[in-house]
Structure formats: structure tokens, C-alpha cells
């Protein structure tokens, strides 16, 4: 146990802070902040506008507000509400006074499983469930210990409710009154956690803490940051990935009023031209006026049409083996009982609504960063490296982000490196680097293109007797530090997940992969490999069910392994939840079914689809979900209701990124078109399997199920199979 005081803060700001260490880091702290306490110890000095200690999880303020540090980025998934719920519930904090604060980069906030501070793999709740509950319970125990000292009683004589400790004889004290004493108490090594019947918040529908500020324009995202003297930068990136600047014609650009500098900037690959101006508009105007000659020598000009040809060729040869089933089993199946299916999945951009941005001020011996990052640890290290600093010299503020879907978790931290390179040149001046939508759509780091070739041999029972599956696509993690964890025997498992580990009892399953090298940067896109594997598996299984003349739900239940409880439960629930409408659809409508497990969560999906203006119109979607304990069922429902809409990106007619001669053919939302309200289901009802098991992911699992369900419905309407994405007009 140690008392940690941040002495420069203590003396300079004139307010007291006490914090306490637990094995996992500092736990509880107390601020006597004159703004809240009315105390004027510091004699009129202004406290900082934003108080957040980088080393504690709970701050109990004298005004009764309880600030809980959230160890991850909030970008829509709801952790800024759900993680405080876990802690506040165990602590018996008054929920009305809880504030969720996005923690800056610090060791104590690293993901307990991954060992870096990050959001990914739908692990926020799953990994921090125990951690946040324990911190809450320990904080409560320390508050009770402070009360028992004060009243000369014992802990079993005290109870807690809504930020108050109640003791014998009607005595009571608020957490705020007890906090200073509590912070001096030893941190208990073990605590009893609540059982589900004692929980007041967890398992209940709790509304988001950030709603109001997101509805009245007051919430500040990274892009909204405004610092005194701040400059805004944009970069002209090369038209082909990795190309270099040969010559810059910048006379016109420099003549734009408000432009401060135009210069060549080294990128992670190749080089570009940075423009720094007083504001965004002059920076953009100047960039539009640049005349740049590019050096393309030695740079591969990727081309989608050529890549399809190459990928298809590759798929005809067995690749690196992921699952080594008996290849000869196919010979036992007569030709008329075989299906050969080839699938195409294009590059996809994440296109989060808030364009990528990062603000950095470099002060020589330290730097300050403001970024909506899914990878604080990685980005902090990259910025430190560019600036010649140690990571601890880089203060990294986590800014609320407008979506991300994987795009803010990049192993090479290319945006942060660009921002740091510019900030280095503008020492002492904060510079905000803004990627425009064009930069985003054309800037790479896409979900990779994939080609699947599957040969299925159907047994006399109507179930697969042999299954040969070849997947072709770039490895997302190759050449990154993540390869060590994800690439096994030459197979990037983020590409085979959902197939190689299928929960269906597929006899003689053989899966192999090819990982071609292509000059297009690729990245995980919400639900990663499941974006394509679930589509292939669920459309083929549906086709098999149809051939076997079996109900699509019954067929799946029969084919699933008995241990696939996370899918069998949802399928059973889906059957009852859709009983009222599933078999009573109006003429011209059809039912589509799918199910898929990812990130530990099983999902079953039913859709009611018709065709309007040559496009699928989704009148209704019903989802049944087993995500273990639903910490915030309202948030789980939100993730699934909307997550299926995100998944429909794959089906949009203009939902692909394509390259011709190395250049990306789409520029903005007019060429790469995300789903609009008309493309989304009219209504989505979500049914959660009751569970007391440990919580599993909810951010990504909605995405894989929807596209196969929709095309399965279309297949029933038209008799055709849809294996090429994006989905052309019907």
C-alpha cells in the first residue's frame, strides 16, 4: 500500500488528492477540488478544466459525483455506460451521480487479457467484467472500513445503498464524506462479489450516459477539439499505395490565405504532401491546388479485375492446410450430389462517420496527444518513436470517437505517425491532422478481398459428407506483431475463423488457404473473418436444407454439434420468437434464416424480405442471442438492432472498394455507399437467451448473420444463388 500524490498537481493546483494502490494499480482517489468542495485552499487558482488522474479507477468527489475511469475507447459500443455499471453496482454507488470518463493511456488501463490498452475482439465487457466488479467491491469495503472506524463498529453492522453507508443507531455517512478516510484504508485482497439476485444495475436495462450530450451538440469528439493556437493539417496521399512525391508545384497552394506550410512528408509507405493552415478550409483549398508529380517506380499497381483472376486460379490449387479432413471422401459422392460454389468478397472500407484525426502538441521533452484510438498503447509508442520520446513522455488523451469498426486499431499507427511527423515540425503548436472522407475511402486498410471455392458432397442423409474449402485472401496480421498470436502454421486464423472451427458437424472437412501479397493495406473490419466465412457457410447450409426439403431452422439444429449450445439455444428461441410470423408471410415476401457464433456469442437470425426496386427490402429481422450474462440488456439490444444494419454494408450495390491500375475507383460516399435508412430493416426485435454465464462479445456478433439471412430469403424468392458481393441489382 502506498499513498501516491501527484505533487506538481497538489502544489500547483492547490487541491488535495489521495490515491491508493492495489495489486492491479491504483484504485480509489479523492479530490478536494475547490470547484466542488467550496474550499479555497489554493486561494483562487483555477483548477484544470478536465481532471483525470491516469492511475485510478474511481474518484469520489466532494460533491458526491463518482467519476469512473473507462479503460477503453467509447465509439458507440456502450462501454462508457456498461463498465461503470459493473463497478457502481458492486460499490453501491448512486447511479444518478456516476460519470464515465474515458481514461488516458496508462499501464493500469491495459486490457487484462490482451496486455495493451485497446478495444477489439468484442472483449471490452468479457475481459473487464471481473476487474470492474472487483474494483467496485474493494472500494465499497474501504468506504465501510472508514465508517466502522468513525462509529467504532464492525463491518457486519453496516450496509450500503446509493452512495451512503448506514450503521447502527441510525447513523449514516455519504461516500463523499468518507472518501478521504477510505483512501487511507488498506485495499482488501479478496472481496465477495454480488450474486445475480443482489445486483441492482447489472442485468437491467440502463440508458446510456452519453445520450444527452450526443443529442444537443455539446459532446466533443476528437475532430471537435479546439486548442489555443491550433493549426489544422491535411495530407495529399499518393494515388497508388507506396508511391513517392517526385515534384511539388505548390505556388497556388501557398497563395491560399491562412496556409502556413506545405512540405513533403514521409508516410509509413511512400511519401505525401502535407499542408498546414490556420483552419480546415484553407488547408483543404490549398491541397486541392497542389500539383504533384508522383514516382511510381517499383510500386505494384493492384487491380481488382486482375486480382479476381489470380485469386480464382489460386483457389483451384490446395493451399496451406488449416483443417486436414479426408480429401478422398469426395470421391464417394456422385457428381449430381456435389455442389461447387465460388464466392467473391470485395475490399470494404470501414468509413466511420467521424473522419480519422489526431491532434498532437510536441514540446521537445514531452508531447500531448488527443485521439479517438482503439489502440492507445500502440499509438502512444508509435508517436513516441517518431518524436524521439519515451512512451511515458507522451500524454495520450482518449477522445470520444464517431465510430471505428476496427479502423482505429491499426498496427502501424499510420495516422498517428503522420500527425507526429507534422507536430515535430511545429514544436510548441498543437496540430490537428484531419483525414477527409476522400482520404478515408481511398486510404486503404480495408477488409481484404476474399475468394472462396467450396466443394460440398452431400450424403444420402442430406447432410454434408465431404467438404473441400479453399480461401484466398491477404493476411491481415502478416508483418505485424499480432502475427505471432494469430498466424498458426502459415494460416492467418482471422481468415478461417467461422469455417475451420465451424460448429456444424461437417464430415471430412478440409480447409486450406492462400495468402497472396498485394499492395493494398488491409485491416480487421467489424467481425473480421466472420464477415465472409459466415456468409459462405450460412448460404451453403441453407442451400443444403432446401435440397433436403427440410425446414432451415430444423436442418441447422440437426447438423450442429451437440456442444454448440450457444447456437442451439438461440435457434430454439428464434423458433418461438418468430412463430407468429415466420410461416405467414405475405405474397412476394420470403423468410431468410442464418445462425453464427463469433467472439463467444451465438446469434440466430430470421428476416422477412421482399424485392423493391431490384433491391432487398427487409421488413423485419428477429434475432436470438446468447451472449452469456447481458450486463446491459438495453445496450445488447442496441448493438444487435443496429449492428445488423452495419452488416448490410456488404450487400449495398455500391458497397465495394475496387482498384484499377493501382488507384481506388471510389472517392466518397457517392461511390462507396453505406446503408441508408431504406436499406436497414424496418424493425429489429432482439431476444436474449437468459444466462448466468460469463458475458461474451456483442459489438461484432450482429454483423455476420444478416447478409446470409437476406440472400437466403432472396434465393427463396428468385431460385437464384447470390455468391458475388456486393449484391448486384436483382
Amino acid at each position: 500500500m502506498s499513498i501516491a500524490t501527484n505533487s506538481h498537481v497538489l502544489h500547483r493546483r492547490g487541491f488535495l488528492r489521495v490515491s491508493f494502490a492495489a495489486a492491479s494499480g491504483l484504485l480509489v482517489s479523492l479530490y478536494l477540488d475547490p470547484r466542488f468542495a467550496g474550499a479555497q485552499e489554493g486561494g483562487g487558482q483555477q483548477p484544470p478544466a478536465k481532471v483525470y488522474p491516469p492511475d485510478a479507477f474511481v474518484n469520489i468527489r466532494p460533491d458526491g459525483k463518482i467519476v469512473i475511469q473507462v479503460n477503453r475507447l467509447e465509439f458507440g459500443q456502450g462501454v462508457q455506460t456498461a463498465l461503470p455499471m459493473l463497478l457502481a453496482d458492486e460499490m453501491d454507488a448512486d447511479w444518478k451521480n456516476v460519470i464515465g470518463h474515458l481514461a488516458p493511456a496508462a499501464d493500469v488501463y491495459k486490457d487484462p487479457m490482451f496486455g495493451i490498452q485497446m478495444v477489439g475482439g468484442s472483449g471490452s465487457i468479457a475481459h473487464s467484467f471481473q476487474q470492474y466488479r472487483e474494483v467496485g467491491a474493494k472500494t465499497r469495503a474501504m468506504l465501510i472500513a472508514a465508517a466502522t472506524d468513525r462509529w467504532n463498529t464492525t463491518a457486519d453492522q453496516c450496509r450500503t445503498e446509493a452512495s451512503v453507508v448506514h450503521g447502527p443507531g441510525g447513523r449514516s455517512a455519504t461516500y463523499a464524506e468518507l472518501a478521504a478516510d477510505a483512501a487511507r484504508k488498506p485495499v482488501p485482497t479478496t472481496v465477495r462479489l454480488k450474486n445475480s439476485s443482489e445486483m441492482k444495475l447489472v442485468g437491467k436495462k440502463v440508458k446510456r450516459l452519453d445520450s444527452r450530450a450526443k443529442c444537443d451538440g455539446t459532446l466533443k469528439f476528437g475532430l471537435d477539439l479546439d486548442l489555443p493556437g491550433m493549426k489544422v493539417a491535411v495530407i495529399a496521399h499518393p494515388p497508388v499505395f507506396g508511391a513517392r512525391v517526385k515534384r511539388i508545384g505548390d505556388n497556388e497552394a501557398r497563395s491560399v490565405e491562412g496556409v502556413r506550410d506545405v512540405f513533403e512528408i514521409q508516410l509509413v509507405k511512400g511519401s505525401g504532401v502535407a499542408v498546414v493552415a490556420d483552419k480546415f478550409w484553407p488547408a483543404k483549398q490549398a491541397r486541392d491546388r497542389l500539383k504533384i508529380e508522383w514516382d511510381m517506380t517499383g510500386v505494384e499497381a493492384a487491380d481488382s479485375t486482375e486480382l479476381w483472376t489470380r485469386y480464382k486460379q489460386l483457389s483451384l490449387t490446395p493451399g496451406t492446410v488449416a483443417v486436414n479432413g479426408d480429401l478422398k471422401a469426395m470421391d464417394q459422392v456422385v457428381a449430381r450430389n456435389r455442389i461447387v460454389a465460388e464466392y467473391e468478397f470485395p475490399f470494404l472500407a470501414h468509413a466511420p462517420m467521424e473522419p480519422l484525426n489526431t491532434t498532437i502538441r510536441f514540446d521537445g521533452d514531452r508531447a500531448e496527444v488527443w485521439a479517438g484510438s482503439q489502440f492507445q498503447t500502440v499509438d502512444q509508442m508509435a508517436i513516441a518513436e517518431v518524436l524521439g520520446l519515451k512512451p511515458e513522455q507522451v500524454t495520450f488523451h482518449t477522445e470520444m470517437a464517431g465510430g471505428g469498426f476496427g479502423r482505429r486499431a491499426v498496427a502501424d499507427s499510420h495516422v498517428q505517425r503522420e500527425a507526429a511527423t507534422i507536430a515535430k515540425r511545429f514544436r510548441g503548436t498543437p496540430v490537428k491532422l484531419v483525414w477527409t472522407r476522400e482520404d478515408d475511402v481511398q486510404g486503404g486498410y480495408y477488409r481484404p478481398m476474399h475468394f472462396h471455392r467450396v466443394e460440398v458432397g452431400i450424403g444420402p442423409d442430406g447432410f454434408p459428407a465431404a467438404w473441400r474449402h479453399v480461401i484466398v485472401g491477404q493476411s491481415i496480421t502478416a508483418d505485424t506483431p499480432f502475427a505471432a498470436f494469430v498466424v498458426k502454421n502459415g494460416v492467418d486464423q482471422t481468415m478461417t475463423e467461422g469455417t475451420a472451427d465451424s460448429h456444424y458437424n461437417i464430415r471430412n472437412l478440409h480447409v486450406s488457404v492462400h495468402h497472396p501479397k498485394v499492395n493494398v493495406p488491409v485491416l480487421w473490419w467489424r467481425s473480421v473473418g466472420h464477415t465472409h466465412t459466415a456468409f459462405v457457410m450460412e448460404t451453403l447450409i441453407d442451400e443444403l436444407a432446401l435440397r433436403a426439403k427440410m425446414d432451415p431452422i430444423a436442418y441447422r439444429r440437426k447438423l450442429l454439434k451437440p456442444e454448440a449450445k450457444k447456437l442451439l439455444g438461440p435457434l430454439a428461441l428464434l423458433e418461438t420468437a418468430t412463430a407468429a410470423w415466420r410461416n405467414r408471410l405475405p405474397k412476394g415476401h420470403a423468410l431468410g434464416i442464418s445462425c453464427h457464433e463469433s467472439f463467444g456469442t451465438g446469434v440466430a437470425c430470421a428476416v422477412d424480405v421482399s424485392i423493391e426496386n431490384k433491391r432487398p427490402r427487409i421488413h423485419r429481422a428477429t434475432l436470438a442471442v446468447d451472449c452469456g450474462l447481458a450486463v446491459n440488456p438495453l445496450s445488447v439490444e442496441s448493438q444487435f438492432q443496429a449492428g445488423v444494419g452495419f452488416g448490410l454494408s456488404q450487400l449495398m450495390a455500391k458497397g465495394a472498394i475496387t482498384l484499377k491500375g493501382g488507384r481506388v475507383e471510389q472517392r466518397n460516399f457517392d461511390g462507396f455507399v453505406p446503408p441508408y435508412i431504406i436499406d436497414a430493416p424496418m424493425a429489429v426485435d432482439v431476444h436474449i437467451v437468459p444466462s448466468g454465464e460469463a458475458p461474451t462479445g456483442c459489438g461484432e456478433p450482429p454483423v455476420p448473420v444478416i447478409s446470409p439471412a437476406v440472400v437466403n430469403a432472396l434465393a427463396r424468392l428468385t431460385g437464384k444463388r447470390y455468391r458475388t458481393l456486393p449484391l448486384a441489382n436483382i
Binding site: 475532430l223 483549398q285 466518397n668 435508412i677
Partner: protein
Amino acid sequence: MATFKLNVNGQTKEVTVDPSTPLLWVLREDLKMTGTKFGCGISACGACTVHVGGIATRSCIVPISHIGDRPIVTIEGIGQDLVGRAVQDSWVETDVVQCGYCQSGQIMAAVALLKHTKQPTDKNIDESMGGNVCRCATYPRIREAIKNAAAELRKGGA
């Protein structure tokens, strides 16, 4: 550079900017009103929607020199309006937002719809909200929140 006098949320503001500057960037960078968002810059996503002269307008493509004396209402001011307040409240009550970045624009579009359509049908909603992207795809709850706000407003006799 030129000086423009603007009426924003009922207040008179003066800015000196390049006349080509879109209203969006004047709001965000000169008037420091960052509730209105930059999403695409080509009027394809609606994140920048404000009301100009009472009409839902994509502020990212309207040069400041085209505004004239028409009053501008932004997300920061829409809560002063009865319909605006009802829509914001309904959004919170329905727990619509996720990342929230597009929601200023969604709310401004929804207010414009409810100003002239007291009882919007799904078709009205598809048409009026049809140009606003929510990348999180909170569309089912946006639809629900609009209907809830309309019901509240009818109850209130507005």
C-alpha cells in the same frame, strides 16, 4: 476575405472569412459551434444538417456567401424550439445514439420532418431521413424515436 453578418440560433454573429467557405466550417471553426459535424463534404451523409430559413440544409456545401439574412438554426439551438426539444428528448428516451456522431444531423432532419408532418408514416420517414447516414445503423431506433416524438407532440397539442 469578406465579412458576413449571420443570424445563428437567434443571435447575430459576424465572421470574416473567404466567401467560398462552407457554412459548416464557419460554424465549426469561426463560431466554435462544433455540434454540426463534418462527415463527407459532398452532401452525401447529412451529418452537417442545419436549418437555413427553416429548411433542412447540408451546411458542408453551402458557401457562406449564399446565406444572406436567412436565419440559421443548429443543433445547439434546436432545443429552444418545442419540436426540437421533443425530438431531442425522444432520442434520449429511446436510447437512440451509439457513436452519436451523425445524430446532430439526424435530429435536425427529424425536426424538419415533424415541423410539417404531424403523424409521419414509414414512407415519410424514409423520404425525409433518406439522405442521412448512420454508420452504426441505428435506423430502427431513429424510426421509433421519430414516431415517439410525434406522439408526444400530438399529446401536448403542438
